[in-house]
Symmetry: C2
Subunit: 348 residues, 2 copies
């Protein structure tokens, strides 16, 4: 089975697990942005009738998983395992969302890299035959993240232009084995063909309003490793998407990879730069697990289904800080995992 890996960090899925269905949910503000027509569901208000913001995030995530299950026309009991994570302490949103669904649960934490992480895990499990259906999910909510990581919401504090806005949103992808899959869904089949697992990179940034700069070197490391281990270059992909680097981080990725000989000026975008419009006061862009989660399960998945995108690399990016590490003067470690997705059975 040694041919299921390339180099040290890249895993390949030769059985081509399929993203059978995906469902994406966005908050009210995200639903007013440039991607508004690509989400499956937009919240009318971000508390959706719950007592607390944490309960609202929990309900959003649960509704998203249920949405994916319904759209796929399967029963939730057909899902063998769900890989999910979020930003709230002890994965509160994921744990409480899954509690009510009776689906076997493996919790992940990769900060905002969680959507890539869960997709690699689900792909790995379906490809190896450990699961027939596996769900990959990630969520974030502006109101839960803001008060946990930064300031009380009512404080209304100002932020510098380098700061990013935590996306209220989430995504759930349902993976299943390709063999024998009739394909309930119209459009092209969408396969997860492999992934590159990231190393932690920390360049000493300790300003929590500079998350893009803190995470960009990790994205560069993972993307470069992906290119080296697979022999592919940027031109192989129709599009490369990073998770939530925002404007500053995106520029750093272009610069750093450019200096290494990889031209990222033609087909590279960042989900954090795509999700809000210039008039939406989002400073450097969106962040949070729900940023790449909702963009991947909405815009990217649907553009692959329609055939407008064929080969895509999604590189969700995470900042592995905590409030305690910040208080103790630690710098911000970054991580990024890359997932290769294709409408063709593309072998590495």
């Amino acid at each position: 089975m040694a041919d299921n890996k390339l180099g040290r960090q890249t895993v390949t899925f030769k059985k081509f697990p399929q993203i059978y269905m995906a469902f994406s949910t966005a908050g009210k503000k995200e639903g007013q942005g440039p991607l508004k027509n690509w989400f499956d569901s937009v919240l009318e208000d971000d508390k959706i009738g719950q007592r607390t913001w944490e309960e609202a995030e929990t309900k959003m995530l649960k509704d998203t998983v249920v949405g994916a299950v319904r759209k796929a026309e399967i029963d939730k009991h057909e899902i063998d395992v769900i890989f999910s994570g979020d930003l709230i302490n002890q994965l509160m949103s994921s744990s409480y969302a899954v509690r009510e669904m009776g689906i076997p649960f493996l919790g992940l934490y990769g900060a905002c890299s969680t959507m890539s992480e869960s997709l690699i895990m689900a792909g790995a499990f379906v490809n190896a035959g450990y699961s027939k259906y596996a769900a990959a999910a990630a969520s974030s909510h502006f109101c839960t993240a803001e008060r946990q990581f930064r300031m009380p919401l009512a404080h209304g504090n100002q932020k510098p232009p380098s700061a990013q806005l935590t996306v209220t949103g989430c995504g759930c992808a349902l993976l299943r084995e390709s063999e024998g899959a009739a394909g309930c869904c119209e459009g092209k089949p969408v396969y997860v063909t492999g992934g590159t697992i990231g190393k932690i990179v920390d360049k000493g940034i300790n300003d929590t309003n500079m998350m893009g700069a803190a995470m960009a070197p990790a994205a560069v490391d993972t993307i470069e490793t992906h290119f080296i281990e697979t022999g592919r270059g940027p031109e192989y992909y129709d599009m490369i998407f990073t998770g939530d680097l925002g404007k500053i981080g995106k520029d750093i990725v272009k610069d750093m990879l450019g200096k290494k000989g990889f031209d990222m000026t033609k087909n590279y975008e960042d989900c954090g730069c795509m999700i809000y419009g210039e008039d939406q006061d989002a400073h450097s862009g969106g962040s949070g697990c729900g940023c790449s989660g909702s963009v991947l399960c909405g815009y990217i998945f649907k553009n692959m289904k329609s055939g407008d995108l064929k080969n895509v690399l999604v590189v969700s990016t995470g900042a592995l800080l905590s409030t305690i590490s910040t208080q103790q003067g630690e710098s911000i470690p970054g991580i990024a995992h890359a997932v290769a997705i294709s409408t063709e059975k593309e072998r590495f």
Copy 2:
């Protein structure tokens, strides 16, 4: 590949990934208990020269991974991925420990079930050929957990007899493919033959001094599912170990499984009941990821190496609460994952 699963929740590893080496570290108090001779390393003091308790836990975890690597006589760069988790917000201990090692990292959160979770993941990755060497780790530290989840340490508050003590300790298991493994290590080979992924079970307990009772129903659910899906009964195993149910939780498991027709009175123990002596003022017993982490990588692994234990089921148990969920009046969801370990290539 459909034969890599049994039922919905059980995965099987037919390539028999081997726990090539394991290393366990215990705190000072744990190193004075009944298992003192089974740990690879005992801390002289629990702050080990660091500025903060969080930095001490980080160093303990890092030293444990390095200890496993040295004992296995390999280079850390041979490890393709490390699966690790802990109890501190945003997996601070794992993230900062791995940051300095350059090993590709997939963070997990399963509360105190993390050691089983990381072992299932590492087994799944090695079995499927995604990794040659994969590390599985988990840590907890009394002083970081106590002040995060309960009271400031200096408060010196009293606890009821049902309360448990968070173990200062951690474990790291290094898995590799069996094929072609010369086996650097003396003694019997130790294989991870499969696992049963748990569902979240919440019976409405909301007293954080009753964690054993909160987690026991999840352990019962996973163990019963394991028996049903594999066709094995309690008698199949030399020993079944739960993670950290303590005295109260252990009794509940015996009662509940007994009523379901599974006799757990002969060969069942709980790591939380084993790690402290009666004279150590540990109330209902030990808890924390490091409880089953250090007992599995110390006592259990070494007893398998020597041939004293042949077939073992380890069921680490987690309480998926957070401080926020407690403040908001939520009950405590429990989860448990079971890992089957054998010195023989035992097929399910």
